[in-house]
Amino acid sequence: MDRNNLSPAPPAWADRLFGWICPPELHEELQGDLHEQFAADTRAFGPARARRLYVRQVLTFYRPYFLKRRTASSQTYPALNDPFPPVNQPSFLRIDMLRNYLKIALRTLWKSKGYTAINVSGLAVAFCVCTFLFMTVYRQLTFDSFHANGDRIFQTYFFSGSPQSSARSGIMPLPLGPALKTSFPELEGVTRVRIGTKSLVSYNDKYFDKHIALTDPDFLRIFSFPLVKGNRQQALQNLSGIVISESMARTIFGEQDPMGKQLRLGQLTEQKNYMVTGVMADLPDNSSIHCDALIRVESTDNYRQDMKNWDGNSYSVYLKTPATLDQATLESRLRSFTNTQFARTIADLKKEGAKPDERGDLFAIRLQKLKNVHFDRDITAGKGAPVALVYALSGLAVFILLIACINFINLTIARSFTRARELGVRKSLGALRHQLFIQIWGEALVVCLSGFLLGTGLAYSLISSFNAFFDARIDLSYLQKPGFIGLMAVIFLVVSLLAGGYPAWRMTTLRAVDVLKGKISFRRPGILRNSLIITQFTISCLLICCTVVAIQQIDFLRERPLGFSREQVISIPVGTRTNGRMMLQRFRDHFAQDPAIVSITGSSVNLGRGKDRVTSRSMTGMAYKGKNITTDWLLVDYDYLKTLNIKLLSGREFDPTYATDSVNRVIISESMAKEMGVKNPVGLFFGSDTSGTRSQIIGMVADFHLYAPTGKIAPVTMHLSHREPISYLFVRVNTPNPTAAMTKLQAYWQTVAPQAEFMASFLDENVDAWFQNEQTMSRLFSIASGIAIFLSCLGLFAVALLAIEQRTKEIGVRKVMGASAASIVVLLSRDFVKLVVIALAIALPLAWFGMQQWLNNYPYRVSISIGAFILVAAGAILVAIGTVSYQTIKAALMNPVKSLKTE
């Protein structure tokens, strides 16, 4: 109203904080002193600083003296006539009580060692799995999150509508970068980035294979990759400057200072000199852009001839907007730019009958936020991770945690009758509900905490095997990231509240009188217990079914005919240190007379994934009768079809006797002909839109999978050229012992090209490597579902033990009355089997539906087999019976005299 409102007051929450620690009899004087000090501080330093000082003063009261004095019952001063008494209630934090709680907790835990062990180990396994999964998820979610002002960095992509389906692509033409920079001077930076296969770097006659990024000076302005040496603004100003990573500097220069040193880049014949102008810290593992060094785009050989070429797409373009410009505005400004720059493309699309999308664009340049790029598989051309992966892993982790929590809840509640009497006594002696709650919950917290510590410890020690087994790249540094620690803390809190809090709450709601009279019935928790068990088994069965279907699908893809023969073919990556064309010639000459070697050919693209782990793809747009057709543009050499057993449908293969075959002659695949809309394409001409030349079709082959069969077969156009480099050799052998042939090839390779590594592999291995992602996922799911079913069984085992313990007397009576052991086993098992059957009834349809959705992603897929599901169901029931059988059989065989004579 008056003065009180005007004069600044110390923060109320700090007063409350003070009230908690302050011994009540001292409250008045101490609070008074604090406020007086605050008033003095306000005069001296102003209200803001006074408040800070006040909080600091309050915090210093949290010292042992006051805590002891508060909890000790001794009172130096008689109760005061405090006009402002703090809320004064018996505190459960009294030291004697805490000591008692701890003692009781340890006793109960020790008395039931078995259950404690089950609880702790179950939670530990779950926490361990969660740590791994959340680390993986964390890595995925933090991709590209480390750039300053990352929300203003975008990658551009083309959107193009077409009559069939719209397409997005993040690969842009070379001139786009500079054009954007001149048309939109308001942008803070525009950079092109192209990171191809590894290139050869040499220094003092030492050779290294490194990923070199072609880029613009703005790269270092847009992205905040730290520079260890060199000047951010200057490092890429010079056309022959190169910025290398710290680890590259170490491998090449060792301890020497790399700055100003000359490096030579490129093949032996066409090397170029670069001077090190900067050293950047190694790019973080969770960066979408990954390379060892940066050089200027303009310093490459073909730059002059490509700088006006708007048709070839091979660069990613990143830009940083000023803070005042939002994405939508920039995208709308880009529209007019696109309309003039890509008028021809838009006209073509219109001719094809493309319809504009909901934003009214036929063709547009749009922006994707950098932090979303990793999850945008269209833009990264499949390099990123699918968002579904993050969901799947988080879901998996949550499921497994849930199962462990359910075990915990079930066991605690089932065992609560042993504690009921204790709680009754405590209540009748005046324990308040929240005190009991804290006690029981505290016990649960102890168990949770041991499980948590054990689990994270386990994860800590297993991390390298996890990485090796799943080809993952998580590392221990995440354990120190505040975000990750926060995540784990939240998980721990939720688990301990859920798993410990619920049973504690239930137990405290019991009425003391009933408990002490022994009237309390534990019938009702049965419903809860059963539904929890059903939940567990539903989740486990769901996971198992999904895993089974996924494995079937992967096997199906792997066994699928690929259109080429993968047997008896060896693929040799040429690498950067030698010339593929020369090697091809030498191998052909050397092995011409060898009966074990049938044919040798070369290509620009490997089939499957070889030991060099490189995938490359070259695509081109073809115009045929006004139709734009996108096709793989595959460089081959003579004998390609013969070596790979690709079926020739019509026409002929490339033949050395026709000199013109190496110029503008192509062989197309069947689906290419289909795209063109011709039955018999041999002899026809069509134009490629990049070179403007026209090619004649000399043959047509059956479709084959040039890339992984997880996608649809794409049209392929093969051409032969003596100028383009050959990156892979393929050798067809015909021998019962292909390994010997491989050794022979290796021996020859080492005599011809000793400087280059021989990285050959059999084609069937390569093809298997295509499914590596799927394989890793299915392995992950197999293990997760194994753990899920293991944890569920662990819980079932313990619950069965308790349930049977409670029915000891009933069983004794039944036996005395003449029941057979077998009938008792059936009786006891029936309850549990019933639960599993219900769980199956829920899980199977869900799995069927879910997996149907998943399979729809694949153009080639298995149909879900009922048999597999029946097998899973039978397995689950058997496992459940097996789990409880130990207990039931023991109970059934027990001498009834023993069970009845007690009491």
Binding site: L30, Q37, Q57, T60
Partner: protein, 108 residues
Amino acid sequence: MGRSYLGEFEELVLLAVAVLDGNAYGVAIADELKQRTDRAINLSGIHVALYRLEEKGLVVSELGGATAERGGRRKRLFSITPLGSKTLNDMRDVRNQLWDAIPRPSFL
């Protein structure tokens, strides 16, 4: 030593109580010590020392002197007891004796 042990800070606080002569309470003592020693003083530290001194019987206290700044709360005013004065004197004597016992090189 029959006397109870007195820490350095406790001694300072006890001296401040003596100095302030009947007007010694938390904030006043803190101000006094801040001015004289130029070190950071916590109210909580002062109070702990005061209560310990009171337990040892070196000071006595009474409530009184509420002000508006204190939100109408009373102060606990401490005053030194004869035992407290004697302790201080004893300590001073011990110190003086020790000082006197330091051998002094003669300059003259």
